[in-house]
Symmetry: C2
Subunit: 339 residues, 2 copies
Amino acid sequence: MKEKILLSYGSGGKHTFEFINNFVLKYFSNDILNQLLDSAVIKISDNTKLAFSIDSYTVSPIFFPGGDIGKLSICGTINDLLCVGAKPLFISLSLIIEEGLETEVMEKIFSSIKEVSEKENVKIVTGDTKVVQKGMCDKIFITTAGIGVIENNIDLNYNKIEAGDAVIITGSIAEHGCAVLLSRGAYGFKSDIQSDCASLKGLVEKVLASNYAQYIKFMRDPTRGGVAAALNEIVNKTKGISIEIEEEKIPIKDNVKHFCDLLGFDPLNIANEGKMLMIVSPTVAEEVVKILKQYHLGKDAAIIGKVVRDEKPKVVLKTLYGTKRIVELPIAEELPRIC
Amino acid sequence: MKEKILLSYGSGGKHTFEFINNFVLKYFSNDILNQLLDSAVIKISDNTKLAFSIDSYTVSPIFFPGGDIGKLSICGTINDLLCVGAKPLFISLSLIIEEGLETEVMEKIFSSIKEVSEKENVKIVTGDTKVVQKGMCDKIFITTAGIGVIENNIDLNYNKIEAGDAVIITGSIAEHGCAVLLSRGAYGFKSDIQSDCASLKGLVEKVLASNYAQYIKFMRDPTRGGVAAALNEIVNKTKGISIEIEEEKIPIKDNVKHFCDLLGFDPLNIANEGKMLMIVSPTVAEEVVKILKQYHLGKDAAIIGKVVRDEKPKVVLKTLYGTKRIVELPIAEELPRIC
């Protein structure tokens, strides 16, 4: 640990994992936290298993093409609950607002929250509001915690993953991060890239309600740090496996690819806010993709790679040119306050 | 609603209630949220009733006599769960950190969190860390959400309160707010006032495990806005009652009284972080106080007043001089960022 907290500790990359593993877990280690799943899985009684998650949103700017901090905070928490197979039910909402923020801005944010929470049938059941003096925070930070119920027969975890499993992504990558960066206006050109910010509740529920539910091993939404961070975390938490993905199979929109090429960004490192990575048995992978493709949010779903046996866990990309390269955890903070 | 968000919207006083009632509930009204209890009470199944709470902590300074932002964030969430009679079990912890904060400061905060959560047997099960650029927040903000289980026979709510009930406070008032203000060093003198920041889990569990549990009608911890805000909220949410309290019965330490007298503060308006107001049947009030007094955190517990029938809900104080005055909801933000 450095002597001071670095911006990169919040990036979702290598420094975040070091911060969590070497610092957070040193203080708060316990069976549930140590799983480091997107939501904690807690047993309330023999018959009741809950998912519990929390996330703070500090995205800048607070409005961006395709969403805003309100929509992001609800969708993000819903998606984290979905990762462990839960049915998202209740959300608590805590606001830290900078004195002097226009009430009209609050109205827009609340409208977004209302719209997405009603559509997805999750209830905002409790909350808190703190207001700090001007200059003591940047407009508004929102923290959402969520509770979902996990059916008894569902148990998604790293230890289910095995060599041969297929890696599915539910759609095209890197849109959220690019949209937020573009909306900062710092690159001197315009683009029609929209954030993919969306709740995946409907989509994931379709898969979990299908005959293939029992073959779903693991899910993770590739947010901060992108697909690269999510897959690296999976190989690091699962014993004896690597993941190989193929560049030509990874869905990416032309405008996103173009933007990343221009600026030298690797789209694998860039945040998504409406995509899910699924690790599934190879026997049902094609069928799961077929289900996903029936829905708007899953229309570009694809099998992008597979799990292989390996003593040295790593993520390998087979490039368009047929070469292979290791996909590292992003190290530095390329994109602060992306969510 | 004003055109801009005011500091007082976060004060716990009149403006906070207007913000919640006229703005928040306009967007997010539902059966659970509308109760406006310290924790949401949610039914997961016929046999499982949970408490769910969230609070953001922006206290300044982050270290103060008697506690720090870490201890405060855990105790505050535990106490909110206790208010609805829950057994606090799980906490999620979300950090928003200013880039450059000394790691040593984080270590101290984490040590406090570890100490109190282990002592109170609540588990930190999930979390999130965001780091924002220097100047974009003030050192560190912590948001904690909590889950507790409510036994089926416990049902604390406004509708249980009736004329004749006694009002108990578990100890001396106004210490937290005074300690934080003093630690800002803005008043040119020193005092030995300590924040009362504490988890009330042990204390409240003793009462709920006693034969008198069924006679406990309602609990609220008088934090922001102090006893004045908490009691005003109770009379406003309960039909046809007022609350009368007696100044001479309200426990207050000499140093706190002196400090408030000097600065013209009403101690009834000042935040507590380790006290509980309990509304109980008059027949058991003395016995409940006896139980409380057996424990360190309840040694100054006292019956401070009673509930009376009244068409015009208000909180009335019988002063030391025998006169009566109405205790209003605090209006303006005397004490920003007290928690």
